[in-house]
Symmetry: C2
């Protein structure tokens, strides 16, 4: 090769072509790990049957009269507010509930097939508070909620928008309007709503339908939004939750039936006992959804963990939590429904404990074959606070998991025999052609990890990952790009939102 | 039941009997997870064959003349310092190397069966420095080494003593004496030595033999100590490492042949390429061990990861590291040898990054079916520093994993139907008999996690896990108990150690 102009041109051309960013599809994940089991097949069947006995003989307290009526009409025995559900009713519901659900987003590249083998990550949900190192800890606001949506939009590894931090500066009768507006205009990913009464659900559905420009039929035939339904363990379904199951099912939208069974508190102290209760309550919700509309999209949910023996607080990422994730996955596969699990952290800050808890829970979910991991990023204080630095640190874990799902090439070039031949014993591979051709794209590039040596790290201020994460979320917000179509959606829904607001929105139902 | 004396007596008797501490056997672990794979069977075979081709056609540079002679006598082709090993030689070595190795400790309850399905954890190894929040960062010393041994002794989840932090205040010719003395007198667990020359190995063996009171035959027939052998990737075996393989094999002690293949630096930039090199180098070491003594205990080792693209530093807990753990496990099982993997952290401090890196690596090892996880606790700065707080935070992760291996009861009592019956809908299980009977032992009790609510946590100083861990290691050292038999061992070896010291110990070999 000659020096001079030609050489330089080649050099420049190379540089221009060079930053071929590593391309790994984080948007649609296929879990390549085989599910791990804590029970034999017989034991799973046994647990399922015990749950059926709980439903049939002990029953579940249902506070919404309309729900009790639906159960009764469907064949359940109702005594006052207690509903006793026979196994044949459960069987029918499990037959009609779909095993594969297509979840639709404003941007079709964010659509997901929710079924065995696929995996979705969602950020922290349900947090009343928000924390970051710059603004401190405070009640959630619409501004911080919008920031959380922007952060979620900025990482492909997040598949579904959060309902946190909860914008407490918006009156409760209008909050559902502000949150769905933020999701629709700042993001093009899967949408999330709270189940807080019929009025709120109907307005949310109408806004989505108008935003996307869907006919009534198109909306009803596609799953555009989902809500988490938490039973009041043990054995109780309150008014807004039962209402949500009915309204979402009738509208063809998905509910995620998720008992929050804390072993030793709202659930038996044993892993198997907590799972029996979780399973019974989830089945009760699934039955109500199918009786409300045959074939309605409904997800099995499990978020069972244990209380800490010292403080009585919920604990996460514990061995018991992970076991319930593995066992919960076995129960979900037994009834052939997609299922959500949850990670999250009880830590008060994004430190070693916070990472430990969340990463353990993420692995529990992944190895339990969960199809959706809720609270996968940003959940502090057992869900009381959405942490921005925590969100960033957790994204690193989710991305690491996603990278593991990529097939590992084992062809001749990847086995690198000739590269090994090229390097003398004791030499190095830095400059071999094999390395040069792949170096830019060979490895996952960390988001927040600092791999500098101790001297460099110290000279830059000895920052912890928590401290470094501040700059990362700030940069991410600065670089945030409004999704295509946002302006159009904004125009589509503007009048409707004004109208709903003028009408006073919709009050949440309680009880 | 009557009040008064009888009742009180019962109460007291109950209290005395009450604190039935949770008993989970951390000492001998059976990995209950099924190994996860990144390669098909054909691909594994293919990688193995490429490694054989590397050994046969490209060869490995061996710096120790005696080792080259052993290879040559065994049938390898030797040209100057290059050794070319044919597949039949590898095949023979794999036939004679044992698949199951009993590892012996001064206390038989610390013995381990090292084979497919079992799992050992060892702390950080090879660290020149030590860090804790009280004394800061400094070169390792005999005092801090002794502290590390005491900490390792105090947690059942640690199965084997570390060779770190390295006591740099002891001259190199005496260091092997001080470290084995510390292990033998402060601990009753599996022992570890460096392979730094024949003189050091022989003195170490003699001390162990004298300490335990073993005949020559008993010592030779039991595996009492092991050493990690790092090849100088790519394709080089230096003098102390080759020496170590020969000496340990002849003495019937175990070497753990562990190429440290950093993809993109000392190894090809691809996962499969790095594994081909790792596998070839490991096989070369295994062949030397078997040619030195047929049937000598030898462990397959894999510690391959990638360099960070920004800093050029080794990275850990990355997707590539984990993939190499899973693939490394497949190669180890293909040749039917027990194998060691490694976790560890590049982080400079025990923070979210440190937890992330180590926990990811621990999961990679566990899911890769590793039988020994080295650097499982306390490895900071990519191994440059043994961190006391990091050690404590990492112990929490190892204990969580171990708890997962405990069978989950699914009998009637564990399914808790009657407990569920006992609690009214919306009630709680705190005070049920089912809970009371199990509460003390139901859950893993965290070591460093703080599950207090935000207010309590803040009022106690908003301590991070790293900060809280200081108190934990301090308490652990305060509560450290010298193992039974320590005094006797001390008396047994006293004269011999004085003698070796007077003779000037033994200089390390290099080159």
């Amino acid at each position: 090769m000659t020096n001079g102009k030609a050489g330089k041109r080649t050099g420049r051309a190379k540089r221009q072509a060079a930053p071929v960013a590593r391309k790994v599809n984080y948007r649609q994940l296929k879990n390549s790990f085989s599910p791990q089991e804590i029970y034999s097949h017989d034991e799973v069947e046994n647990l399922h049957n015990t749950s059926l006995k709980v439903l049939k003989d002990l029953g579940i307290r249902v506070l919404l009269p309309e729900a009790r009526k639906i159960y009764q009409t469907g064949g359940a025995r109702v005594v006052e507010d207690m509903v006793f559900i026979g196994p044949e009713l459960v069987q029918e519901a499990l037959k009609s509930a779909p095993s594969s659900i297509e979840l639709l987003a404003p941007n079709p590249i964010c659509n997901q097939v929710y079924e065995e083998g696929t995996l979705l990550f969602t950020p922290a949900g349900g947090c009343p508070n928000v924390y970051d190192r710059v603004r401190g800890r405070s009640p959630g606001s619409i501004d911080t909620y919008r920031d959380a949506i922007k952060l979620s939009q900025s990482f492909d590894i997040i598949h579904k928008n959060p309902m946190a931090p909860e914008p407490q500066d918006i009156p409760v009768n209008l909050r559902h309007l502000s949150t769905i507006e933020a999701q629709l205009t700042l993001s093009d990913k899967l949408m999330t709503a709270f189940a807080r009464g019929q009025g709120q659900a109907e307005q949310t559905f109408a806004i989505i339908q108008t935003a996307i420009g869907l006919s009534d039929e198109d909306f009803a035939n596609g799953v555009w939004v989902s809500a988490v339904i938490n039973s009041n363990s043990p054995r109780m379904l309150d008014i807004p939750m039962a209402r949500g199951i009915i309204d979402f099912a009738r509208a063809g939208q998905m509910t995620i039936i998720t008992p929050f069974c804390l072993a030793g508190a709202m659930a038996p102290v044993t892993v198997s006992g907590a799972l029996v209760l979780q399973h019974a309550e989830a089945l009760a919700g699934i039955v109500l959804s199918q009786l409300s509309k045959n074939g309605a999209p409904v997800s099995y949910g499990g978020f069972s963990s244990n209380v800490d023996m010292k403080s009585g607080s919920p604990a996460f990422g514990t061995p018991e939590h992970l076991k319930m994730q593995l066992g919960g996955g076995q129960l979900a596969r037994y009834i052939d429904l997609p299922w959500r699990s949850a990670a999250g952290s009880a830590s008060n800050i994004s430190d070693a404990q916070g990472a430990h808890e969340n990463i353990m829970g993420v692995w529990g979910a992944v190895l339990g074959g969960a199809n959706m991991v809720i609270h996968g990023a940003g959940w502090l204080e057992g869900g009381l606070t959405f942490g921005f630095e925590k969100f960033i640190c957790d994204i690193e874990a989710l991305q690491t998991i996603a990278e593991m799902f990529e097939p590992t090439l084992a062809d001749d070039a990847s086995q690198a025999y000739t590269a090994i031949e090229d390097v003398t014993p004791g030499g190095h591979f830095f400059a071999t052609q094999h390395t040069m051709e792949r170096f830019d794209t060979a490895f996952y590039s960390p988001l927040v990890a600092d791999l500098e040596n101790h001297g460099n790290w110290e000279s830059k201020g000895s920052l912890t990952a928590n401290e470094r994460a501040t700059e990362v979320w700030q940069k991410t917000l600065n670089n945030y790009v409004v999704p295509k179509g946002s302006l159009e959606i904004s125009e589509n829904i503007n009048d409707l939102i004004i109208k709903f607001k003028e009408e006073g929105g919709a009050s949440p139902e309680s009880g």
